[in-house]
Subunit: 941 residues, 2 copies
C-alpha cells in the first residue's frame, strides 16, 4: 500500500503545535496580523487577464506580480508571513518559475512563512455550486499543493472570505476534507450584530444532520472587517491611507498618531471576541502586487506598538496566519456556540439581500451543470473504463485536464454565480466548450479502442436545437451505477421511425412530435429540425446500450396537434389535470399512492427596483434581488394551449406571452411530470427590469415551512420570515425569503410532498401557504453597486434582443416518508445525464450499486490508480428504505478493472483517511451516512 | 593640497570607455532602453509627501518605495540598468538605509547598474531660477553623490526632461560642471517638427557668447517621446498597456504582436535620428514604485526582439543609460548642428504657449529671490567670516543647511515656477521661513562672537510692513565685494530723526515719509507704521557699517503730501517728467550723458482665455498664458497722483484703480529710477481671469528687437514673431512673443538703451516698437490642463480677497556701449541685498574687488575649507571698460581668513578643474570671461 512519505519536519510537529507560529504573550491582547490577498478567479477580468495583469484599464490587478513581490518580501524578513488561497493562480505562477525560485518557495512553505489556506483551485461559490463540482475543484487544488509541497503545503484552514452567504454542505465538505477551521467575512448584518453582542462570532458549525459528530463539525470564525484591514491601516498601493512616517527630519512625523489609532481599534475589537487573541486581515482584493508597501509599514507598526510594552502597554502585535490564530483559539480550551443551520440568505443592509445571484445568468448556470455531467461521463468514466488508449489514439491526444480546469474555475464565486462581467461569463463558457472538445478526442479514442473501429464520429452538442446526422445506431451511455430508463429526444425532419434495441427484441414504430411554437421561433431561419423523435431507452449501470433507428418512408404522419385543452394527461404513474377555461394545470395525482393535490402553476415577473426608492437606493442587479413591490405581475391569466400524444410522450403546450411558454410533458415510463419552460427575450421596452418566476400553488398545508437543498446534497428546512439563530426583523418580504435551490425544493404536509427537481441552480421561496416559487430568468437595467459595474442584461449573437432560456422542472408527488426514494435518483439523473453514441452494449460495473449508493466520482488519478468516490445519498431521516447503511463489495465492482488495492482518503484526496487528525472543539451544549473515498490501482485491460 | 582619491576602478576606465555599458552591435539598429523615474521635488504633493507616499489620494507616488523596489530588481538580473536623478529624494532614502543596504547600492553604482544622471538636489526650472541658486542646488546634490559614491557616482549627463523650455545659461552651467551631454524632452512643436525632418534632434549647443569654445559647448539630445515610453509599452503599475503574455498555455499569447509593434516603432524612430543608435525612455512620473512590472516585461521584450536576429532581424535591444547612449553617439564621430540661441518660449501646440509661469505666483518668486539673498548673506558669508562660533553659540545651534535645502527644493521646476498646487506652494514658503529662522540663530551667534556681546537681537523680517523696534544703532551688512550706497527705509511712527554714521562724521536730519495710500490699505487694522524714515547708507565690501538713529522730539513735521502732479522730479543723475493731464510718466533723461527719451508707462490686463474659444479650448493657467485678445484692457487712462519730497527721496504716487497703484521714486544718490508697483487683489467679480502687465512705451527705435537675460546672467537678443532656428508660424501674437525676464530686460537703438531691472522673475515682451511690457500678476479662474488641477487664484489669510503683490522695477537709461556698466552692478544689488543690524564697522575683504568681478558664493564647505565662487559678470561684448579680463589676488582677499591653499574646481565643485575631461564634439560649421572656483582652507581667527 502506497503511503505519502514524511518528507519534512513540519509533519512531525503538525499535530497541535505549529512550530512556525510566532510566540504570543499570555497576559496581553495578542493581535494576529494576517497579510493576504484575495484573488478572484475571474470577475471583472478573465482569470488569465488577472494572472498577467492584462486589461488594467478595467481593474488594476496582476497576480503574477503579487506572487513575485510577496516571495521577495518574505525573504527580506523571516518574521513576515503570507497566506495564499487560490491554486488556479498559484499553479500558473509556479510553472513559470525557475527551479531555484521553486526551491526558495518550498523553503518558505516548509518554514511556515508562506502558508496555503483553503487551497482549492478557486474559492467556490456556495449558493449555486453542486457539491460534486466543488469536491472536484478542491481536490484539484489540494492535489497540486500536495504533490508540490507535501504535507507542509496542506491547508489546515478553509477560507471563504468573499462568498455571499455560506452553505452548510460546504462546511460539511470542509470538515470531511480535514480542515481544522473555517473563516469567512460575509454574513447577514443582523446576524453579525447579534453575534457581536453575544461574542458568538466564533462558533462550532455542526454541518450535517446525518454524519456522526464531530465528523461534520467545523470551527467557524467570522472575520472582523470582512476581509479588509481596519480603517486607516490599508497600506496597499491601491489604498490612500497615510504611511508610517517615522523620520523625524521629514514633515508630518505620525508614529504616535498611528499607534494611538491602532490601539483603539484593537481594544474595541477585543470586546466582541472571546479570547485574548484577535485577528486582523491585512489585505484585500488583488493586493500585495507591491508587497513592500504593506510589509514596510507593518514592520514599523509591530515595532512601534510593541515598543510601548516597555511602558506598560498590554497589546502585543505579531505576524500570523489563520492556522496560527486558530491554534491559539484551540489552546484557549473554551466552549463554543453550536450552529446547525446555514448562513443564507446574506443581507448587508435592510434592503440589500444577495438573493438575485441564485438565478443570475441561468444559461451559464445550466451550461456549467451539463458540463459537469459531461466531464464525469465522457472524460472521467470513459477514461477509466477504456484506459490509456483513450488519451492517445487515432483521433489524436485527448485530455480531461482542460475540462477539469474549466469546471474548476467555473465554481468560483463570481463564475457560476453569474456575478461576473459579460465578457468574463463568455470566457468561462468558452473554456467549458474547449474542455468539451478535448473530452471528445478522449471519448473518440476510447470508443475506437472499445469497438476496434476508428470510424469518424459525430457529436451532437447542439442536440437541443439542431438536426443530428443520424446513423443507424443510437448509442446511450449511462453514467449512473444503476440501470436507468431515459427518454431520448432526437431532432429529425422525417415523420415516423422504426426503433429497436440492441438485441432487436423490442421493435416499435414511433411517430414524431412537431417542435413547439416557441422552439420554432428560436430556431427560425436557422434550418433546424421541425420534428422530434421521442422514445424510451434503458441502459445498464456505467454502461452502454444501442438502439437502431430507421426512417419509415411510408409511416404514419407526425402526431397531430390538438388545439383544444385536454382535461387531463396521464400515464401509469401520474395524472395531471388542466382547467379548460384557463389552460393552466389544476391538479396532480400519484396513481400508485392514490394521492391528489390541487396544483395551479403560472408565470409572473417582479418589477426590479431601479434604486429610485424612498427606503433605499438599492437596485436589483447581478447580486441583489430587490423587487419594487411584493406583488408580482401576472404575465397572463390564461394560456393558449395545444396538445400532442404519441406512444412515447404526451405534451400540453402552453403559450403565455410571446416570450413565455411551457411544455407540460409526461413520458410514458416516467414517474415525474416535466415542465419545460422557455423564457425570453424578456421585454424591456417599458424600461422596467424584470425578474421572472414560476409559481406552483397547491393545496398542501405548509404552515410557512419549505425545504431546499444545500449544494445538491442535504435538505434544509426553511421558514418564511424566520431565521433559526436570531430574531429576524424582515425588511424585504420577497427577497428576504429567497433561498438557493441547487437541485431541488419541496413543500409538504403530513400526507403530501411535492418535490421540484431543477436542472440548474435557481433562487426560490415559499411566500404563501402551499406555494413554491422559483425564479427562472432575470433581465435588469441597473448595476447593483457591488462592483461588477454592469446591469445584468444578457444578449448574444444568437439572441440579439435578449437571452432566451429554456429549462426543466421535474415534479414528483409522494408520501413524505418515501419522497426521497423518488427525488434522490431523479435528481441524480438530472445531474449526470446519459451520453448518446457508443458502439456496443457494455457495462463498466459487474452489477448495479444499491439505490442508496451514488457513484460520485470515477476518474483516472495517475497511470496506476483511479479515484473513486462512492456516496450514500440519503439523509439519515429521509427514507425508511434507503437511509440505512449499505455494504459494497469493491473487489467485484468493475467489469474491466482488476482491483489490486484500496486506500481510503479524505474527501479531497489529499490525506489518508487514517492520518486525518483534526482539532477537537467543545460545543456549548450523534445517523448512518457512509462516504467512501477509495483509491484504486488500475491495470490496463 | 587635498585630492580626491581614486577609490574605484570605474575612474580609470572613465575616459571615453564606460565599461559597464552593454555591448552594441555594429551593423544593427541599437535600441537603448533607459529605465527611469521622474520624481518631482514637489508639485501636486509636497516633497516629503512624495517621499513617503503620503496623500496618495492626490496622486499615487511614493519615492521611498521606488528606490526600495528598483534596488531589489537590479539585483535580480545584472543586465538591468536604472538611472536616478533627484538627489533631494535619494538623500532622504539613503539615510534610512542599513549599512549593508548602503554597501549593496554602492556596488550597483560602481558596476554602472545604478547610474546617477543630472544629480542636482532637484531638476531646476530653467525660466524663473537665478543662476546663483541653480549652481547652489546642483552643488548640494553633486556633493552628496561625490561624498557618498566617489567618482563612480558623478553624473556625466544632464537630464532636464520635464522643464518647460530650456535656458542657454543652464546649458552653459552644465558644460562648466563637466557634463558630457544634456537630454531633455520638451521643445516647441514647430522646432521639433523641423528638427525631425532635418535629423537635428541631436545637436551641439554653444551656450555662451563669452566663454571660449568648447568651454560652454554642450551636446544636447532631444528625447523621442518627451520622457515617456513609446505608445503601448508602458508597463508601470500606473499604466494599462498589455503585459507580455508569453505562456502559450494561457489565453491571449501576444509575443508576436508585441515584437511587431516594437519593431515598427523602433524603425520609425530611427528615421528621424542620425546614428544607428536610438534611445527610449522607459518610465515616467513617479514610476517604478513596483519595478518588477517594468523589468519583468522589459526582460521579455529584449529576449523576444533579439531572438529574431537569428532570423535576420537587424534590430538589437539593450538595457542602457543616457551616458552609455551618449558614448555611442560620440563614437559615431559625426558632425552636429550648432545652436546658439535658447529653447524659449515652449509651445506644445499652436495656442498653448507655456509663458504664463514666467510670472505665476509672483509673491513666491520674490520670496525665493530674497531668500537666496538671505542665504548668501546671513548664512553663508557670515558663517565664513566669523567661523565655527556662528554654528554653536549663546543663541543655540544654528545651521545653514536648512536654508540651503529649502532653497534647493525651491529651484524645482514646479516650485519657483509657480506651477505647483497651493498647499505645495505654502510648503515651499514654510521651508524657506524655517531656513530663515535657522540662519538667524547662526547670525546671532556670529554677531555675538564678533561683538563679544550676547545681547538679544531683533530681526525685522517684516521690514516692508511692520514697525521694527528701533535701537539706537542701525547696522548694515553689504554682501557685495565692492562698497555700496543704499537707501534704507525704516517703518516708523515718529516724524523726524537724526541720523549719523559710524564715525559721527556726517550728521543729518531726516524728515519721514508718510506711507502711501496703497500701503495704508494693505496694512489697515494691523497697527503698522504710518511713516517711513528714508536715508542713504554706505557699506564696505563684504562688510558692516553702523548708523545711529534718534527720534527728534521737536523736529520738523513729516514731509507733506502735494496733491498736484509735479512736472518733474530729478536728482543729479536723472530727470523724470510727468504729463500733468494724465499723471503718467512722459520722459526720462540721463543728466550725465545728456540723453532723453519719451517714456510713458501704464497698467493693463489681458483677459485670460477661459478655454471657450473657436480656435482652441486652451485656457490660461499656471503654465499657459493665453489672452483672449491681443489688445489688453487699459486699467485707467489717467493716474491720480500725489507727491512727496524729502532730502533722501522724491516720490510721485500714482493711483490707477483700487487694486493698482505705483510709487515713482528717485533716491538722492541713485542712478536708477524706481517704480514700486502694487497690484491686487485682482478683481474677479466679473468672472474674468486677468493677467496684469505694465507697459513702457518709449521713443527708442527697436525694430522688433529686445533683450532679456538668461537665468540672471548672459543677455539674449529677442525678436518679435521670430525664432533664430526655424521659420516661425506665429499663432499667438502676445503669448508667443513672451520670454522669461529673470533679472532684467532692455530695449535699445543706436543711441539709447533703457534697461529694466526686476526684483524677481517675470514674463515679458516687446509687442510694439519702442515698447517693453512686463507681466506682474496673474489671477485665473481655470486650470490649464497640464496636471496641476487648480486655477491659479491665490488668496491667503492676510489676503482673503486675493493676493496683493508689490515689487520694484529699476529703470536705467544709458548709452548702449556702457549700459552694462550700470545694469550689472544694479542687478547684483537687487539680487544680494544688504542685511540690517550689526555691531561695528567691519569688512571681510581687505579691498574691494574690481567692478567686473562678482563674489557669487562664499560658504563654509567643511571645517577646514570654504567654497568661493568669483565670477566675471560682464559678457564679452557688453562693456569696453568691464568686459576685459581681470586679475584678483586671492592671497590678499580676506581680512579674517588666512589662505593656506587654493584648488580650482568645476562649477559644481564635484571635480577638480584640471581633472575635468569632457567628450569633444564637432560642430557642423573665442571672449574673455573668467570663472574662478576656488577652495579655501580656513583657520579660525
Amino acid at each position: 500500500e502506497q503511503r505519502l512519505k514524511l518528507k519534512d519536519l513540519c509533519l512531525l510537529l503538525y499535530f497541535y503545535i505549529i512550530s512556525s507560529c510566532h510566540a504570543t504573550k499570555p497576559n496581553m491582547l495578542n493581535v494576529h496580523l494576517v497579510p493576504h490577498t484575495h484573488d478572484d478567479v475571474g470577475w471583472l477580468k478573465t482569470v488569465d487577464q488577472y494572472f498577467y495583469g492584462d486589461r488594467n484599464d478595467i481593474q488594476h490587478a496582476g497576480v503574477q506580480y503579487i506572487l513575485d513581490s510577496v516571495v521577495d518580501q518574505l525573504l527580506k524578513n523571516p518574521d513576515r508571513r503570507f497566506i495564499y488561497v487560490e491554486t488556479a493562480f498559484f499553479y500558473r505562477w509556479w510553472k513559470q518559475q525557475s527551479s531555484s525560485m521553486q526551491q526558495t518557495v518550498k523553503k518558505l512553505v516548509n518554514e511556515g512563512r508562506l502558508e496555503f489556506v483553503n487551497g482549492g483551485w478557486c474559492m467556490s461559490d456556495e449558493a449555486t455550486t453542486h457539491y460534486s463540482a466543488v469536491i472536484d475543484q478542491m481536490t484539484m487544488g489540494l492535489r497540486f499543493l500536495n504533490e508540490t509541497f507535501g504535507p507542509c503545503g496542506r491547508p489546515r484552514v478553509a477560507w471563504h472570505i468573499d462568498p455571499f452567504g455560506h452553505a452548510r454542505e460546504h462546511a460539511s465538505m470542509f470538515a470531511q476534507m480535514g480542515y481544522d477551521g473555517f473563516f469567512f467575512g460575509r454574513l447577514d448584518y443582523q446576524d453579525r450584530a447579534r453575534r457581536r453582542r453575544d461574542k458568538e462570532q466564533e462558533l462550532l458549525w455542526r454541518a450535517s444532520d446525518s454524519l456522526t459528530p464531530p465528523m461534520a463539525d467545523l470551527f467557524t470564525g467570522i472575520l472582523p472587517n470582512g476581509y479588509n484591514p481596519p480603517e486607516g491601516f490599508c497600506w496597499d498601493q491601491s489604498c490612500d491611507d497615510p504611511p508610517i512616517r517615522d523620520d523625524p527630519d521629514l514633515e508630518d512625523y505620525n508614529v504616535d498618531d498611528v499607534v494611538r489609532r491602532f490601539l483603539a481599534i484593537a481594544n474595541s475589537q477585543a470586546i466582541v471576541y472571546k479570547t485574548d487573541h484577535i485577528i486582523m486581515t491585512m489585505g484585500s482584493d488583488f493586493q500585495y502586487e507591491n508587497a513592500n508597501l504593506w510589509y514596510k509599514n507593518l514592520d514599523k507598526l509591530i515595532h512601534y506598538v510593541n515598543a510601548l510594552q516597555a511602558n506598560g502597554s498590554k497589546v502585543n502585535v505579531l505576524y500570523s496566519t489563520p492556522s496560527c490564530y486558530l491554534q491559539e483559539l484551540h489552546r484557549a480550551n473554551l466552549t463554543w456556540a453550536l450552529k446547525m443551520d446555514d448562513f443564507f440568505p446574506y443581507a448587508d443592509d435592510a434592503h440589500d439581500f444577495w438573493t438575485g445571484y441564485f438565478t443570475s445568468r441561468p444559461a451559464l448556470k445550466r451550461y456549467e451543470r451539463i458540463s459537469n455531467s459531461n466531464l464525469q461521463v465522457t472524460c472521467n468514466q470513459l477514461e477509466v473504463l477504456s484506459g490509456p488508449a483513450s488519451r492517445k489514439g487515432p483521433f489524436g491526444e485527448g485530455d480531461s485536464q482542460t475540462m477539469k480546469k474549466a469546471m474548476a474555475v467555473a465554481q468560483h464565486h463570481d463564475a457560476v454565480s453569474g456575478t461576473e462581467k459579460q465578457h468574463v461569463a463568455n470566457d468561462y463558457a468558452r473554456r467549458l466548450a474547449h474542455g468539451w472538445q478535448r473530452c471528445q478526442v478522449l471519448v473518440s479514442n476510447s470508443l475506437a479502442a472499445l469497438s476496434g473501429s476508428s470510424a469518424e464520429r459525430m457529436y451532437c452538442d447542439n442536440l437541443n436545437i439542431s438536426v443530428c446526422p443520424l446513423t443507424e445506431s443510437i448509442n446511450v451511455y449511462n453514467p449512473l451505477a444503476r440501470p436507468v430508463t431515459w427518454p431520448v429526444r432526437l431532432p429529425v425532419n422525417g415523420t415516423a421511425y422504426l426503433v429497436s434495441d440492441a438485441n432487436a427484441l423490442s421493435v416499435s414504430v414511433f411517430q414524431v412530435v412537431p417542435v413547439s411554437a416557441a422552439t420554432r421561433e428560436v430556431r427560425r431561419n436557422r434550418g433546424f429540425a421541425v420534428n422530434e423523435l421521442v422514445f424510451q431507452v434503458q441502459a445498464p449501470p456505467l454502461g452502454f446500450t444501442t438502439y437502431s433507428v430507421s426512417l419509415l418512408q411510408d409511416g404514419p404522419p407526425p402526431a397531430s396537434t390538438q388545439h383544444r385543452t385536454p382535461t387531463a394527461i396521464q400515464n401509469k404513474f401520474l395524472r395531471v389535470t388542466f382547467d379548460p377555461d384557463t389552460g393552466l394545470l389544476s391538479s396532480l395525482s400519484n396513481l400508485e399512492t392514490k394521492q391528489t393535490i390541487k396544483l395551479t402553476q403560472n408565470f409572473y415577473w417582479y418589477n426590479a427596483s431601479d434604486g429610485n426608492n424612498l427606503q433605499s437606493d438599492q437596485p436589483s442587479g447581478a447580486y441583489i434581488f430587490r423587487p419594487n413591490s411584493s406583488t408580482p405581475f401576472l404575465i397572463s391569466k390564461t394560456a393558449k394551449t395545444e396538445s400532442i400524444q404519441t406512444s412515447g410522450v404526451q405534451e400540453v403546450r402552453q403559450w403565455f406571452a410571446p416570450w413565455v411558454s411551457q411544455v407540460v410533458r409526461l413520458y410514458t415510463d416516467s414517474k415525474a411530470l416535466e415542465l419545460e419552460w422557455t423564457v425570453g427575450p424578456v421585454p424591456i421596452d417599458d424600461d422596467l427590469g424584470k425578474e421572472v418566476i414560476t409559481r406552483l400553488d397547491t393545496s398542501i398545508k405548509t404552515s410557512q415551512y419549505f425545504y431546499t437543498d444545500s449544494n445538491g446534497r442535504e435538505m434544509l428546512q426553511r421558514k418564511t420570515d424566520f431565521r433559526p439563530t436570531w430574531n429576524l426583523r424582515q425588511s424585504e418580504p420577497i427577497a428576504g425569503n429567497y433561498y438557493p435551490i441547487n437541485s431541488r425544493a419541496f413543500i409538504k404536509d403530513d400526507v403530501d410532498q411535492l418535490t421540484v427537481v431543477t436542472d440548474r441552480s435557481q433562487g426560490g421561496g415559499s411566500i404563501h401557504n402551499g406555494s413554491l416559487e422559483i425564479m427562472l430568468h432575470r433581465r435588469l437595467l441597473y448595476d447593483d453597486v457591488r462592483g461588477v459595474g454592469e446591469p445584468l442584461n444578457e444578449t448574444s449573437n444568437i439572441f440579439p434582443k435578449g437571452l432566451v432560456v429554456r429549462g426543466r422542472l421535474l415534479l414528483s408527488l409522494d408520501r413524505p416518508p418515501s419522497a426521497a426514494d423518488a427525488h434522490r435518483p431523479l435528481a441524480q439523473e438530472v445531474v449526470l445525464q446519459p451520453l448518446y453514441d457508443n458502439p456496443k452494449k457494455f457495462s463498466g460495473l459487474q452489477a448495479a450499486l444499491p439505490p442508496a449508493v451514488h457513484l460520485l466520482t470515477l476518474t483516472q488519478w495517475d497511470k496506476d490508480s483511479v479515484l473513486l468516490r462512492l456516496e450514500h445519498q440519503f439523509q439519515s431521516w429521509e427514507s425508511k428504505l434507503n437511509s440505512q447503511p449499505v455494504t459494497v463489495n469493491l473487489q467485484k465492482l468493475f467489469s474491466t478493472l482488476e482491483v489490486l488495492g484500496v486506500s481510503e482518503l479524505n474527501l479531497s484526496a489529499n490525506q489518508w483517511k487514517d492520518e486525518m487528525t483534526r482539532f477537537h472543539w467543545t460545543p456549548m451544549t450523534g445517523t448512518g451516512h457512509l462516504n467512501l473515498f477509495i483509491r484504486f490501482y488500475y491495470i490496463s485491460s
